[in-house]
């Protein structure tokens, strides 16, 4: 399962990339694989604030509903409308075209997992 080395991760199977004070968030390939075909995504509103660990949306597959958690504190500055319109891309390209939302972070996020730690976590669950 693909776990890009340049990203950070959460135990909720999301990835985070921080650049210039903006965190981009998506779900991992492991999560996408476990969910199956993704059919609906509900994302936070642009301009709203999110807090690390709080639910801020939903990802739905044919069979299940999974909460989306914000891994960071800050203001939502963008959401991936293309993924809302066609959620399949979240499964086919979770680390690229399938990104979900961007947050302007007030502080550098803490408590994120390294690629090695995340790999260990998924191997424990698999």
């Amino acid at each position: 399962m693909s776990v890009p080395a340049e990203l950070h991760y959460t135990s909720e199977h999301e990835w985070v990339a921080v650049a210039d004070g903006v965190a981009t968030v998506g779900i991992t390939a492991y999560a996408a694989e476990a969910l199956g075909d993704i059919v609906y995504v509900d994302l936070p509103e642009v301009g709203g604030t999110v807090s690390a660990g709080d639910t801020c949306g939903e990802v739905e597959s044919t069979k299940s509903v999974s909460d989306l958690y914000s891994p960071v504190n800050g203001e939502v500055v963008a959401v991936n409308e293309a993924a809302v319109a066609d959620p399949e891309v979240i499964g086919t390209d979770p680390y690229g075209q399938g990104w979900l939302f961007k947050v302007e972070v007030s502080e550098e996020p803490a408590d994120l997992l390294s690629p090695e730690q995340y790999t260990q976590l998924t191997e424990g669950e698999g």
């Binding site: 909720e12 999560a31 199956g36 075909d37 059919v39 609906y40 739905e60 044919t62 069979k63 509903v65």
Partner: protein
Amino acid sequence: MTAPNQGPALRTTPLHAVHRRAGAALVDFAGWEMPLRYTGERAEHTAVRERAGLFDLSHMGEIHVTGPQAADLLDYALVGHLSQVAVGRARYTMITAADGGVLDDLIVYRLADHDYLVVANAANAAAVLAALTERAAGFDARVEDRSADYALIAVQGPAAAAILAPLTDADLDTIKYYAGYRHTVAGRPALLARTGYTGEDGFEIFLTPGTEAPAVWAALLEAGEPHGLVPAGLSARDTLRLEAGMPLYGNELDPGTTPYDAGLGRVVKLDKPGDFVGRAALEAAAKAGPARRLVGLVARGRRPLRRGNPVLCDGREVGSVTSGAPSPTLGKPIAMAYVEAGLDSGSGAFSVDVRGRAEEVDLVDLPFYKRGR
């Protein structure tokens, strides 16, 4: 997301290793480890609608009812009139408790005058066996659980007949819908039936011993490849039957539901002679009319409707979703729901409360999908 629980050991079918090798996502289904999907459930669903899909249904229960009074026993134990079924034909029927509540929905094949095969849902197989055994008291008939001996493979979809034809000695043109005969498939003896749970043409292949299943599965996959046949899992099977408006035990049917509630009163043969288990209660239910009605819902938006979501009419709660999923064929979320009897699409504005947010829906008659002939 959470890791699957490590529960008690799951039962496996003779095709388990085949599913593993194919990379299927396996899940606990009624105590069996079964393929949920192989590649993607929507592609599998579409393959069955447009070409064909191959299903392992070996978890289903197979119960043989034999003996001089086998037909009489089934007339007494089930709501259908099984003694009237011709040899080689099958019936969709139900077994109810004395109060008319559904214990399971069944397909019963008449294999010979005194030989019936009762096919039960995996989750209910033990209960059906127990009820049939108890109801057999005083009848010259034998009830025998043969589930462990059987494997069951279904090939479903518009290309099913073309795929199967070169592998069987049967003339498929002569096998009508809901008929089943002993034939060979890939050189193995099989009960070959034109039945299914997808809304498409298709066949179910009952194999004894079940250990023949991997060879038959492989032969079907090979013969089906040029036709676009793919293995399909339980996830696709669920959306296929939902689109076809077919009830699923545990969702639309349960011991608190009569066949009339589910809109399936036609399976109850009140005009058959003699008493049968549930007769008095079902006669009363038929006279009183059902208190609720099974309907279809189609969402106007894109948010999936899910089992347990309340159904509202002009804001008032009038029922509950029993099965819901995004329909790959319609491209919209669909659901089956029980609502108060008497409600129809003209009763008001319908919506479904999906975790606190009202989603507008249209109330429609079932099924959502009917194949062209």
